[in-house]
């Protein structure tokens, strides 16, 4: 993309804080498609041509993926914090637990929810590619898909966590789960202290994507009265 600075809709008047007289770059793809772009297009067109699926199914699946964000995972975590029975069911079968809350699994994967405790810290990675609990978290961050994280998370997890600002004391066991086949993982972080009076919704707003991957804890700082 060449148009990062000009991606607003310019049909309406607005204020850039200065005289708006510079020419606009056209929003278009000007680079030639790469090898994998061409291959993806070719395979997609062949599949459509042979009626294995239609263009609307592709569009629909993109909509499905776009509807998944870390806010879903945060709701699951908050529910587990406030409802002990739900937490138990979620830890027994992560997929069924999420489905209870209406989060569907469209991709035949199973989900194991890994509970962080004062004795155990969980971290998730996919060393082979980018397996990620997409039904509950959406798309993975770029660093999750890149080789430095993928190779180092299983070799020196404590050093990787330190780089995220997370210090795990020596008496806490680190468990790294490598998702490679049909099972995906979601970390159930520890509920931070001082949150006893928060509502489920307020609790969910504290839970971040990175906490559910296991690279940071969930933090809570009381607002000054």
């Amino acid at each position: 993309m060449h148009s990062e600075d000009h991606n607003q809709d310019h049909d309406h008047p607005h204020d850039h804080g200065r005289e708006h007289d510079h020419p606009h770059e056209e929003i278009s793809i000007t680079e030639a498609p790469g090898y994998y772009d061409v291959m993806e297009t070719a395979v997609r067109e062949l599949l459509v041509e042979r009626k294995l699926f239609g263009p609307d199914e592709i569009r629909r699946q993109i909509e499905v993926l776009d509807s998944r964000t870390p806010a879903l995972g945060a709701k699951v975590v908050a529910r587990a914090w406030v409802d002990g029975d739900f937490r138990k069911r979620l830890l027994e079968d992560g997929r069924k637990g999420c489905e209870e809350l209406g989060i569907t699994f469209y991709d035949d994967t199973q989900l194991i929810v890994l509970e962080n405790t004062p004795d155990t810290h969980n971290l998730i990675v996919c060393t082979l590619c980018s397996c990620y609990p997409r039904p509950v978290l959406g798309l993975p961050p770029d660093w999750y898909k890149l080789k430095p994280y993928r190779s180092r998370a299983v070799y020196e997890p404590r050093a990787v966590l330190e780089e995220f600002g997370t210090h795990i004391p020596n008496d806490v066991e680190i468990v790294v789960s490598d998702s490679t086949a049909l099972v995906r993982y979601l970390v159930l972080p520890m509920r931070p202290a001082g949150t006893e009076n928060l509502t489920e919704e307020e609790l969910a707003s504290l839970v971040t994507r990175d906490a559910m991957i296991g690279v940071v804890p969930v933090n809570y700082q009381k607002r000054a009265a």
Binding site: Q110, L128, V176, T180, L182
Partner: protein, 110 residues
């Protein structure tokens, strides 16, 4: 009939009962076929313990990937492997460990 006695009358299909049980010690396979395989090479030939049996049977996605599977299913197992078993120079606590789901045909009983 209680659920226990019902279960006694049901004959499971071949392969339906998991081969390994929780707590069993296993070794991951040491073969190195060329292609798309889901047991990472850094975890081949390692000693571990079955921590969990994944209840839902699934296709062998390696065979499936090559169009040779014909839909047959098997079990995946969550295997616990100590970091010190994987890396001789591991810097961390002795209790630190790795977990991975492994399809039954990559596991050997020891």
């Amino acid at each position: 009939m209680t659920s226990q006695s019902i279960a006694e009358t049901v004959v499971p299909a071949l392969g339906e009962v998991p081969i390994f049980v929780v707590g069993e010690r296993v070794r991951t396979g040491t073969r190195f076929p060329v292609g798309h395989y889901r047991l990472p090479t850094y975890l081949r030939g390692k000693l571990g313990v079955v921590e969990r049996v994944i209840p839902t049977m699934a296709v062998d996605n390696e065979e499936e990937g090559y169009g040779r599977n014909a839909g047959s299913k098997g079990h995946y197992y969550r295997i616990a492997i100590p970091m010190s078993e994987i890396w001789t120079d591991y810097k961390g606590q002795a209790s630190d460990g790795l977990r991975i789901e492994v399809f039954e045909n990559w596991l050997e009983r020891i």
